[in-house]
């Protein structure tokens, strides 16, 4: 019983996270309401871009929590991995739903074959779909009951979030026209975040940080 605390209060960091994660959705609705040019003229394409961008940013942020703790020893962010990951899934789900309607609605009738073709015939769509399937599996199992049932397999399963990150970046690289600078920035950040998870690297970073802070403490106490 001691484990379960009384209703936890939300920290400012958590509030910022939730507000920030919901912002792209509110912004999208606001711009649609205001008749923003691209949303007015080519709404499917623009909404697809925006929700996809929100999904990949939130997924990257979710993956950034652990390395941030490794480098800065900032434990609070670890609790953000789950909400950020779930928000990433939410945007990915909206993104994929728009994709289904956009590709399925041809000449005013629903064409499921067209959805199938659009999803599986093009590599960028296929890797995007794969990333979505991974996020779906993780979202479904992101609860206490699944953790208890799956035990050590839960951790194994949730390591697939790295794969989702890689697939999402590949999806982005493959869909841009020519200037791949932006997706490559995501790729570089993801690489750094994954390298910082390698046990040896992680240990070295943590040791360095602790040595530094010890030295600083010694310096301040001796002066």
């Amino acid at each position: 019983m001691a484990k379960r605390k009384a209703k936890t209060r939300w920290t400012p960091l958590q509030i910022i996270t939730h507000l920030g994660a919901l912002f792209p959705l509110v912004w999208l609705a606001w711009d649609f309401w205001q008749g923003q040019t691209a949303l007015l003229i080519n709404p499917f394409q623009e909404a697809t871009f925006r929700t996809g961008k929100a999904a990949i940013i939130l997924l990257m942020l979710s993956l950034a929590c652990t390395p941030i703790n490794t480098v800065f020893g900032f434990k609070q962010v670890l609790a953000l991995r789950k909400p950020l990951g779930l928000y990433a899934f939410m945007y990915a789900a909206i993104h994929f739903s728009i994709f289904i309607v956009d590709n399925g609605l041809v000449s005013n009738s629903l064409n499921l074959w067209a959805v199938y073709e659009a999803t599986f015939e093009k590599r960028y769509a296929l890797v995007g779909f794969a990333a979505f399937v991974v996020l779906l599996a993780l979202a479904i199992t992101s609860n206490q009951w699944s953790m208890r049932t799956l035990r050590k397999n839960w951790k194994r399963l949730h390591r697939f979030v790295y794969a989702a990150g890689v697939l999402a970046v590949i999806h982005f690289v493959w869909l841009v026209k020519s200037d791949i600078r932006e997706p490559l920035i995501y790729g570089a950040l993801l690489t750094i975040m994954l390298v910082l998870r390698i046990p040896a690297v992680r240990k070295w970073v943590v040791n360095t940080r602790q040595n530094l802070s010890r030295r600083r403490q010694a310096a301040t106490s001796s002066s």
Partner: protein, 320 residues
């Protein structure tokens, strides 16, 4: 005493047009019913997607509200605010703002190369010397969206007849203005500026290949390729090169900017073809701007009867 109206009180054209665009564009969206009823007073309740003519600002002129297939014209507001023109920016809705004030006069177009009679035309000559016709054509972007646009212009063949191509001339090469100070997108090193496009001479002589000086009865706006551009309705939009300063008759197939940037994705011919997918997406369907849901893409963008003969016996999959 006459009431003085400050210039600040006059609604700038782009805002007034964007209001029109909102009224016209929103009418054809499926979500329109809810939105219109919610803001009916603000925007008026006269908006109707099915009657573009009634909502046209006074300075726009069109003789018909549909193309020959019965497809409605894309509203002026959409045509002039959603543009692919990388010389300004790669953001489609950002082009109009950046292109505002782009100087299109004086403007000269040099027509030369393998010709007997090279000439330099002033833009005013091009607007007066050749009879300007309204031509309502579908524009199909390689990104799978499309519009129906009432252009103003004349057949490219008319210029070519003036300069008399020699027997060696096999292709026509077009070049956009190169001036990074005025065309900020040209500072991007991702593309090999200036923009180049080309046509085979027999394609160029087809009467559908159009040199446009205007749309909706007005001179072209900078975001649409002012003051002088190509319109090749049976090919993907990127073939229809904008803001042209040079037309050259040559004996070798020109390498276009897009062929140089991504040779496996963009070929010389770039005919609209639902059966030949882009390496990264399907070309079988398209989003017609203003419509909810996609529609099937037509071979040669629906102009097969006029142009298919040009490609008889050619493998269109290899010559994409």
């Amino acid at each position: 005493m006459a009431t003085k109206i400050n210039s600040s009180e006059i609604t700038p054209e782009h805002i007034y047009l964007s209001r029109r665009k909102f009224m016209i564009g929103i009418g054809s969206l499926a979500a329109s019913a809810a939105v219109l009823s919610a803001c009916g007073n603000q925007f008026g309740s006269t908006a109707s997607g099915s009657n573009a003519q009634a909502a046209l600002p006074d300075d726009l002129k069109v003789s018909a509200t549909t193309d020959e297939l019965g497809d409605e014209l894309t509203p002026f507001g959409a045509v002039t605010s959603y543009n692919n023109f990388y010389e300004f920016t790669t953001t489609k809705e950002g082009v109009a703002g950046l292109a505002e004030g782009f100087k299109t006069s004086p403007w000269q177009v040099e027509v030369g190369g393998l010709v007997n009679n090279p000439k330099t035309f002033d833009i005013d000559d091009l607007r007066t010397k050749f009879a300007q016709e309204e031509r309502i054509y579908r524009l199909r972007c390689v990104e799978a969206w499309s519009m129906v646009i009432p252009w103003l212009g004349f057949s490219l063949s008319e210029i070519l007849k003036e300069v008399e191509p020699t027997a060696q001339a096999k292709y026509v090469r077009f070049e956009t203005l190169y001036d990074p100070d005025r065309l900020p997108g040209q500072s991007s090193r991702w593309y090999n500026w200036p923009y180049i496009e080309g046509l085979r001479l027999d394609e160029a002589m087809n009467p559908l290949a159009t040199m446009a000086t205007g749309l909706y009865g007005k001179h072209l706006l900078p975001q649409n390729g002012a003051p002088f551009r190509l319109v090749v309705p049976w090919k993907y939009g990127f073939k229809s090169i904008k803001s042209i300063v040079k037309i050259e008759l040559v004996d070798k197939m020109p390498v276009s900017l897009w062929m140089a940037a991504a040779p496996n994705e963009y070929g010389f011919y770039a005919n609209v073809n639902p059966d030949v997918p882009h390496p990264r997406w399907s070309q079988a369907t398209e989003r017609r701007i203003g419509e909810f849901g996609r529609r099937d893409t037509l071979p040669f963008n629906g102009y097969g009867d006029e142009v298919a003969y040009l490609y008889e016996g050619m493998n269109l999959r290899a010559n994409f």
